[in-house]
């Protein structure tokens, strides 16, 4: 069987698998945000960068090739990841102390895993809206990281295309596919896959914040490097 070498570990893989799929199946965690095993790889967050033969590539969009020598935890890579994460924190309004997603937030957990303590970039404090028009959910764009998981889930699994990303560069933002742009005007529902896939606190059920006590939250119980491997992703 074909195999790749991730740091000191030799990993077998099936043809067509990406580096991150092969690693995950072998229990090796590569930090990531926009990748999810249920959806087509996106390659946009740049957190899953690894070094292949001395060159940095995204592990979610690069196919594993027999004999690849891969480094995934070098100082350079961790530094790159930290900077990417810092930019995400600086570009949005991520207030972990009062966010109900805290303790179950992938962005927070990945940042912690990568050793990010604070964002060294200037905070942008963008003016973003909270869309609370839906009966059961709120859409808090302050916390959106444009990972497009909800876009892909709604389009590819739910068949609704409720969400999209509009604009480019720093102006890119999540929008809702409705005439008035409000979530309450769509057929988005609690059964949708898109309703449970948000890795941050952007799409959240209404009225039920903080019902899980500290100590029982997702990443309190099991660290991200154990949760997001071998198909355990929620």
């Amino acid at each position: 069987m074909a195999s790749i070498q991730i740091d000191d570990k030799s990993i077998d893989f099936q043809p067509g698998q990406s580096i991150i799929q092969a690693a995950s199946n072998a229990g090796v965690y590569i930090p990531h945000l926009c990748y999810h095993p249920e959806f087509t790889a996106h390659g946009s967050c740049r957190v899953c960068m690894v070094e292949v033969n001395g060159r940095q590539v995204s592990a979610c969009t690069t196919e594993a090739q027999d004999g690849m020598q891969i480094s995934h935890m070098s100082d350079d890579l961790q530094q790159t990841r930290k900077q990417v994460l810092e930019m995400l924190f600086a570009e949005g309004n991520h207030v972990c102390p009062s966010c109900e997603k805290s303790g179950a937030c992938t962005l927070q957990s990945v940042a912690e895993y990568c050793g990010m303590l604070t964002a060294e970039f200037t905070f942008q404090y963008p003016q973003r809206e909270i869309d609370a028009s839906h009966e059961d959910f709120i859409l808090d764009k302050n916390r959106c990281i444009n990972c497009e998981l909800c876009v892909r889930a709604s389009r590819d699994i739910d068949g609704k295309s409720v969400f999209a990303i509009a604009g480019r560069g720093g102006q890119a933002q999540l929008i809702v596919n409705a005439v008035d742009g409000q979530l309450g005007s769509t057929d988005f529902s609690v059964q949708d896959r898109a309703a449970s896939v948000c890795p941050v606190g952007s799409i959240l059920p209404k009225h039920y914040g903080f019902v899980t006590p500290i100590g029982q939250r997702s990443f309190d119980l099991k660290p991200i490097e154990q949760q997001q491997v071998s198909g355990h992703e929620g």
Binding site: E100, I130, A132, F210, T212, P213, Q216
Partner: protein, 474 residues
């Protein structure tokens, strides 16, 4: 006109400064406690979902966040149409609150105030602090630290964290107390009660040793304002509003806290970010009042735990007319409350409702929610309005220290009148002013206390704005 500025005041929670204004004859014309920090919570929670509020607004304070957490949660209960929580939720919140008041009062007495009381106001600054207490009275210092630690543990087990937890949610609580947690707390509770009793006795001894001086120090005569239980007993979590006049007559009693706007108003002065609440029926000049331990222990008819009740009876006997106005008696009342909290925690820990599974209640959404609680420093009001989508439209918070604003100014003026000798700024005067403010345990910024990092700066400024004298201590 001469103006004297003390900036910042040390060993209080947060940052503030004092200015004393003199006329040409060097008489004090005005004493002002300035709150120079602006927090803006009422503004920046606008537009946020209501269920975030109890967790967000508690960031007002690192010392008594539980008070804001619970006051906001009580307001959120009303927003989700709940007037009665489950027994488990109600008792878990009360347990959290008792732990909070215990730890906050212990911090204030042992860490912030005991150096003044043990060593005297004229003791050297470098010695008159918690480190001096540790050196000279190690056992007492240890008890103070462990009392606070115990309170913090109660908070951790009910709210999830010692500071800024998430326990109270709209309509209830997010956890019960496990058997393991209960047993852990029960293990030390008798010791905590014993230490609390010792603390009351210690203060009593200090106070009575120089009784006349302590009674006259910063003495003012004020109305008293607090929650009480339906039977008039001391209450910290819920109840009806009672106000008593300086001559011990009831101004109002058992008033619905949600009607607080019918009872009090807030006056604004341009020189402070802190407003001046007053009882509407008495007006701005006569309606100012005191809140916190002194007001609560004066206002209540009894305390429903036996040891604290014994202490209350003794405390009330201090004054022939039945109302104790001595500003330094704040400490005494505070320590009676510490004892009450310790006894109440023990009672609650034996209540099986704490292990119940029924944590949440839901009702029909309402547009307005008001929560009122007795925080360690006094009555705390949280008032919110939401829009049809559940986002905060308007918020009004009257924090405990704000209620004592005018009273602190009056006490400062009294002390300055007695101890300011002409135009000479002296170290003892600064100490007396600090001791005055400290008795109220003000939480000036509702922010984490920066112990030992606040030098005291005093400027004497003449009527033309020139600094004629400066005095500072690091």
């Amino acid at each position: 006109m001469t103006k004297i500025t003390i900036d910042p005041i040390s060993r209080v929670e947060g940052h503030g400064k004092i200015t004393l204004h003199q006329d040409e004859n060097q008489r004090i014309t005005q004493a002002r406690l300035h709150i120079s920090e602006f927090r803006g919570f009422e503004k920046f929670i606008q537009g946020r979902p209501y269920w975030e509020v109890p967790v967000m607004v508690q960031r007002l304070c690192g010392i008594c966040p539980v008070s804001h957490h619970l006051a906001a949660a009580k307001a959120m209960d009303r927003l989700v149409g709940v007037s009665q929580l489950t027994p488990t939720a109600e008792k878990m919140r009360k347990l959290m609150h008792f732990g909070q008041v215990l730890q906050s009062h212990a911090l204030h007495f042992f860490h912030l105030s005991s150096p003044d009381l043990l060593f005297g106001y004229d003791d050297e600054v470098r010695h008159r602090n918690i480190i001096g207490v540790i050196e000279d009275h190690p056992e007492l210092a240890k008890q103070g630290v462990l009392l606070r630690k115990y309170g913090q543990e109660v908070v951790r087990m009910t709210a999830g964290k010692r500071i800024h937890g998430t326990g109270a949610v709209p309509g209830g609580i997010n956890k019960h107390l496990s058997i393991t947690e209960r047993d852990e707390l029960l293990k030390d509770i008798d010791q905590i009660i014993s230490w609390s009793q010792n603390a009351v006795e210690l203060f009593k001894t200090i106070f009575l040793r120089n009784r006349e001086y302590h009674e006259q120090f910063a003495l003012i005569s004020s109305n008293m304002f607090s929650l009480v239980q339906a039977d008039g007993a001391l209450e910290l979590y819920d109840g009806g509003l009672r106000a008593r006049s300086a001559d011990n007559a009831l101004i109002f009693d058992q008033q619905n806290p949600e009607k607080y706007l019918d009872l009090i108003h807030e006056h604004v002065e341009s020189w402070s970010f802190m407003k001046f609440p007053f009882i509407r029926s008495l007006g701005v000049d006569k309606g100012w009042y005191r809140v916190g331990p002194l007001a609560r222990v004066n206002n209540c008819d009894s305390i429903d735990t036996p040891l604290a009740e014994q202490q209350r009876v003794e405390f009330k006997a201090l004054s022939a007319d039945g109302i104790v106005q001595y500003t330094l008696a704040y400490h005494w009342a505070r320590l009676i409350e510490v004892l009450h909290c310790a006894e109440s925690i023990k009672q609650l820990l034996h209540d099986p409702d704490l292990q119940g599974e029924d944590l949440l209640v839901k009702g029909d959404m309402q547009a307005v929610g008001i929560g009122v609680i007795e925080a360690p420093r006094g009555t705390l009001f949280h008032h919110y309005e939401i829009n049809e989508d559940g986002l905060i439209k308007k918020a009004n918070l009257i924090v405990s220290t704000t209620n004592n604003n005018q009273a602190m100014n009056e006490s400062i003026r009294q002390v300055a009148d007695v101890y300011l000798d002409g135009r000479e700024l002296t170290e003892p005067l600064l100490n007396q002013l600090e001791v005055t403010v400290r008795a109220y345990d003000p939480c000036l910024s509702c922010a984490t206390h920066a112990l030992g990092k606040m030098p005291l700066q005093v400027d004497l400024i003449d009527h033309q704005g020139h600094t004629t004298q400066s005095l500072s201590k690091a």
